[in-house]
């Protein structure tokens, strides 16, 4: 009986510990929710319906580092936002684009940027920590659940489980989020100054040592293709002009993909469903090593040049 009585203390300890943990959790989450820079911030801004530019860009790292949003804004005299998220597949981006399509009333044009690997199948969720502040959103939860049900469920419903998934970067960002919150409480939730663009200042890099330089087949994933087709249809039904764009990559990259022509025709088919189709894979840019950091990514220098080419075309079609 004595044992049972002493359990009271253990219970009290567990309750106090719980209160403590939930407070820490709240502090970290609050900060993370108020981040407005980097990929985490982008997702926050979109789910807080703070982004509604004339021209919106979605894509993966090729787009995040390749579309110089401030420069495009200057050249097109239209508002631009780069909503691309590094390393992320369209299946995972779908919830973001979906949400955007639902709320953005001002927006006129959406660019869906396709890097050479955009149609490839991808396993699992990439960097779930970027989605944690908005995981309560049904749209986000369902699309994450679709990719990794177990992970999505645990992150949403089991207290503190998400902290076993995050990197220390999450805590640093949360701290930055608090700073942003304290500084700009009155203006609400400001956009970041780079408009989602991440300039990459590096010159051409040798490929990482362990990267293979052998050409490989990159099969088209039917499911991903379907997701993109659905997104194009949905965006168009909301009265937005959809531009499917094959992003520029250095010509050395073509040599690494055996079935590039096949992929390209798949992208072309998607382009046919959209309002416009632009293919920069053969642009004059792609011969210059100065414009790239590696085979598949523009550097800051290259994206400035790319912006001027793109702006000209955008000005023509968005008259």
């Amino acid at each position: 009986m004595k044992s049972i009585k002493r359990l009271k203390y253990l219970l009290l300890f567990v309750i106090l510990l719980g209160v403590l943990l939930f407070s820490i959790d709240w502090i970290i989450s609050f900060g993370a929710r108020h981040v407005n820079v980097s990929d985490l911030g982008k997702i926050n801004l979109i789910f807080n319906h703070r982004v509604d530019p004339d021209i919106m860009i979605f894509g993966a790292s090729d787009a995040e580092w390749g579309f110089d949003a401030p420069e495009l804004q200057r050249l097109t005299h239209r508002t631009v936002y780069n909503g691309a998220i590094d390393g992320t597949h369209y299946r995972q981006l779908a919830c973001l684009i979906d949400e955007f399509a639902q709320y953005a009333t001002h927006n006129r044009a959406v660019i869906l940027s396709l890097g050479p690997f955009a149609l490839r199948a991808r396993m699992g969720v990439r960097e779930i920590e970027r989605y944690l502040p908005v995981i309560g959103n049904q749209n986000v939860y369902e699309s994450l659940y679709d990719m990794d049900a177990d992970l999505a469920f645990k992150c949403r419903y089991i207290p503190f489980y998400k902290y076993t998934e995050v990197s220390s970067n999450y805590y640093r960002q949360s701290f930055e989020g608090w700073k942003t919150y304290i500084k700009s409480r009155r203006q609400g939730f400001p956009l970041d100054t780079m408009l989602g663009y991440v300039p990459d200042p590096q010159a051409w890099q040798r490929a990482p040592k362990n990267a293979t330089n052998d050409a490989s087949n990159v099969p088209i994933d039917k499911f991903t293709y379907q997701v993109l087709a659905d997104l194009i249809r949905e965006l168009r039904s909301k009265g937005k002009k959809v531009i499917v764009l094959v992003s520029p990559f250095h010509q050395s990259g073509v040599a690494l993909i055996k079935n590039w022509e096949q992929i390209r025709s798949g992208m072309q088919a998607l382009g046919a469903m959209a309002d416009y189709y632009m293919d920069f894979s053969t642009s004059t840019l792609t011969t210059q090593k100065d414009y790239f950091r590696n085979s598949f990514h523009l550097n800051a220098n290259g994206s400035k040049v790319f912006a001027s080419i793109l702006a000209e075309q955008l000005n023509r079609i968005l008259k």
Binding site: S3, L7, F13, L21, P208
Partner: protein, 488 residues
């Protein structure tokens, strides 16, 4: 199911609660069922291997006990040992032996006709076969009665807290515990939970974080400077200690909550003053097993050789110990080095004792500790790399401080960040601080012979527990691989 996974947390809570809710006569079936579930979580088909050895040893145990005369008893013992060692040899050493045969063949210019097999090592195989052999040997020696209850014998082999990586228990210690009636006990609960907490902390906060630095360096040995290699080798000592002793603490703790006492597996081995002492404090359940069933019989049989008997026994034992850890020559070499060190210490006892009397006590113990730790760090290089040439390269480079660029620690990554062993600088220093902090805490526990938090007031103690929980949740690494000792 890994001890540091969310799944195990749920499993542990459910099993422990059910254990105390069920009447005593049903408890063994619960534990057996839970252990089967735990085992089959890795690869369910392998349960049949376990079933096979359990059945053989159960039957052999009874036969050994009832057989008339030592010779008959011995026959049954040998049958049991062949079954156990056979299973172990097939699953663990088949490809190793075959690889060596291929080497011999190719030396002679032929191709080895025996096929290579893709075998996944069953979880905990080296541990539970040793534990099962301990049972039949003890029955043979007459130190243990044969167990008649099949379920309880099965539970002895596959009790889930110790199934995956020990401690390798003894029948005299475990079997009575399965028969006795356990009462819920608050002290057991607290002691058990505390052990688990400390074990998880060691694993996810220290070992796995340190592993990131170690893996970075060992992943690309030729890229890093001698200083980095030396640091990585030292950090690996802490990694493997925190990893394995952390595992053992969780094992002991999760059994203790239900009232089971498992044997202590670690006694602060990194502070040993000799390699001999290290082996009394590191993986105690294995070293006592080898001592009782291998070393002692050898030395007794060869006792007329006097000192050579001991040296011979030590070398054989450490050779086997190396082989037990892994089917590779690097492990054997590691074992042989330890055998040589312990033999040397045995033979040089007198002169060393004379030296100890001359030197001031603190100086002598400090020197011994540093030399022992250095020996451990160097031998663990073979343990970690799995390649002889790479190990020698590391030793050569790490202990050549006069080489150009030896103290070069910082590296520029592709994205222009400066890193030390794969960590951003501030993070690296935080990790080092963590390791040093852990070493100090571990030293204090060692000196005071109890958990340091016992020394302070109750409020502070509970605050300490809370701090450990917070560190685990917010600073732990949960995406690493298994525990190091799972592969053995």
């Amino acid at each position: 199911m890994l001890f540091n996974s969310f799944g195990f947390l749920v499993f542990f809570i459910v099993v422990t609660c059910l254990y105390f809710l069920l009447p005593n006569r049903a408890r063994w079936s619960l534990l057996l069922l839970a252990s089967c579930f735990f085992y089959m979580f890795f690869k369910w088909e392998y349960i049949f291997i376990l079933l096979f050895t359990i059945a053989v040893d159960y039957y052999a145990g009874i036969k050994i006990e009832s057989a008339e005369g030592v010779e008959r008893k011995r026959k049954w013992l040998i049958l049991s040992l062949i079954a156990n060692i056979g299973v172990l040899a097939f699953f663990k050493y088949y490809n190793f032996l075959n690889g060596n045969i291929s080497g011999l063949y190719s030396l002679l210019g032929y191709k080895n006709p025996i096929p290579y097999l893709h075998i996944i090592l069953p979880i905990g195989l080296s541990f539970h076969t040793f534990q099962a052999m301990s049972y039949t040997i003890e029955v043979f020696r007459g130190h243990q009665n044969a167990e008649r209850h099949f379920g309880i014998y099965a539970l002895y082999v596959m009790f889930y807290p110790q199934l995956a990586a020990g401690p390798i228990e003894r029948p005299q210690h475990m079997l009575p515990q399965f028969h006795e009636r356990k009462q819920f006990d608050y002290d057991n609960l607290i002691i058990g939970l505390r052990l688990m907490l400390w074990g998880i902390f060691k694993k996810v906060v220290i070992a796995d974080r340190v592993a990131m630095a170690v893996d970075t360096v060992y992943g690309d040995v030729h890229e890093y400077s001698g200083g980095c290699l030396l640091l990585a080798a030292i950090l690996y000592a802490f990694q493997i200690y925190c990893d394995f002793s952390g595992y053992s603490d969780i094992a002991l703790g999760s059994a203790r909550v239900m009232g089971f006492n498992l044997m202590r597996n670690f006694d602060h081995p990194l502070y040993s003053k000799s390699v001999t002492e290290f082996w009394r404090k590191w993986h105690i359940s294995l070293s006592t097993w080898l001592y009782d069933y291998l070393y002692l019989p050898i030395v007794i049989a060869k006792r007329d050789w006097n000192k050579f008997a001991v040296a011979f026994g030590l070398m054989v034992t450490f050779f086997i110990s190396g082989l037990w850890h892994g089917a590779a020559w690097t492990f054997v070499f590691w074992g042989v080095l330890h055998g040589l060190a312990v033999t040397y210490e045995f033979l040089s006892k007198k002169p060393r004792n004379r030296l100890a009397k001359v030197l001031p006590n603190w100086l002598y113990s400090a020197t011994c500790r540093i030399l022992t730790l250095a020996f451990l760090v160097i031998t663990w290089i073979f343990f970690r790399t799995g390649s002889m040439s790479q190990s020698f390269y590391i030793i050569k480079t790490a202990f050549n401080p006069l080489a150009k660029g030896y103290f070069h620690l910082m590296y520029r990554e592709l994205n222009d960040d400066l890193t030390i062993m794969g960590f951003a600088r501030w993070k690296f220093f935080a990790v080092m601080l963590g390791v040093v902090g852990f070493a100090v805490a571990d030293w204090l526990i060692y000196k005071k012979r109890q958990f340091i938090l016992f020394q302070v007031s109750q409020g502070l103690r509970w605050a300490g527990y809370a701090l450990l929980v917070i560190c685990i949740i917010f600073m732990g690494v949960f995406h690493s691989n298994q525990f190091i000792y799972f592969q053995f």
